[in-house]
């Protein structure tokens, strides 16, 4: 069953990868990368069980925690064109 699940997750990753390659807008790519990240969390967890070594879960926790930093950076970059600005001082945007 774990094998089936990991194959399903791999297929989902593949579809997210295709979306990231196709685009068409940058936001689609961001979405695809974000989704790829959560699927990575899942596949690392499942593979840990598959290999009988659930210690790998620390890695999944790490991804679950700091995954959205990257997404946030991308979005901030697009909304404000600058990483250092306060989020609510929107300026001309």
């Amino acid at each position: 069953m774990l094998t089936v699940t990991s194959i399903a997750i791999l297929l989902t990753m593949l579809m997210a990868l295709i979306r990231a390659l196709l685009g068409p807008t940058v936001y689609d790519r961001v979405l695809a990368v974000n989704m790829f990240g959560t699927k990575t969390v899942l596949i690392i967890a499942v593979l840990g069980f598959l290999a009988g070594r659930p210690d790998f879960l620390d890695l999944a926790i790490l991804y679950a925690l700091i995954n959205f930093i990257g997404t946030l950076a991308v979005l901030k970059f697009f909304e404000y064109g600058d990483l250092g600005r306060r989020l609510d001082s929107k300026g001309d945007a």
Binding site: T5, I18, L31, M35, I61
Partner: protein, 125 residues
């Protein structure tokens, strides 16, 4: 008991795989970003939730279960936040939601202060 746990965990894993695949198909087939967000959301809530629940049943009660719960908590915390931020940035970047032609886009689907149809399509490549 063992058998019941195995069946339950298998069923949860299968359900999670199903939702993950559905979300994956959705992200490919949906027409625009906002609908794709919707599809990606399924993989994060139902897909991840069921798969991690299946793993929890598989593992039994131990530290591993706690770690899986933490993963689930962080995922359910961070993925709606990033989805929200992404939808917002997309609107701000000038992408209008996919809308049937004879319907008018409601005010709520626009970023305040930005008239619709403004040519500022930052995100377009």
């Amino acid at each position: 008991m063992e058998l019941a746990a195995a069946i339950l965990s298998g069923a949860l894993l299968l359900g999670g795989s199903f939702f993950a695949l559905v979300g994956g198909i959705g992200i490919l087939r949906m027409p625009d970003l906002f609908t794709r967000l919707h599809a990606a959301g399924i993989t994060d809530t139902m897909g991840a939730g069921l798969i991690l629940a299946g793993l929890m049943v598989h593992a039994g009660v131990s530290l591993v279960t706690v770690k899986l719960l933490m993963i689930l908590g962080f995922l359910w915390f961070s993925s709606p936040v990033s989805t929200h931020a992404l939808a917002r940035a997309t609107l701000a970047g000038g992408q209008e939601p996919f809308w049937a032609e004879d319907l008018e886009i409601p005010e709520t689907a626009r970023i305040p202060g930005r008239p619709s149809g403004e040519s500022g399509r930052k995100g377009e490549e």
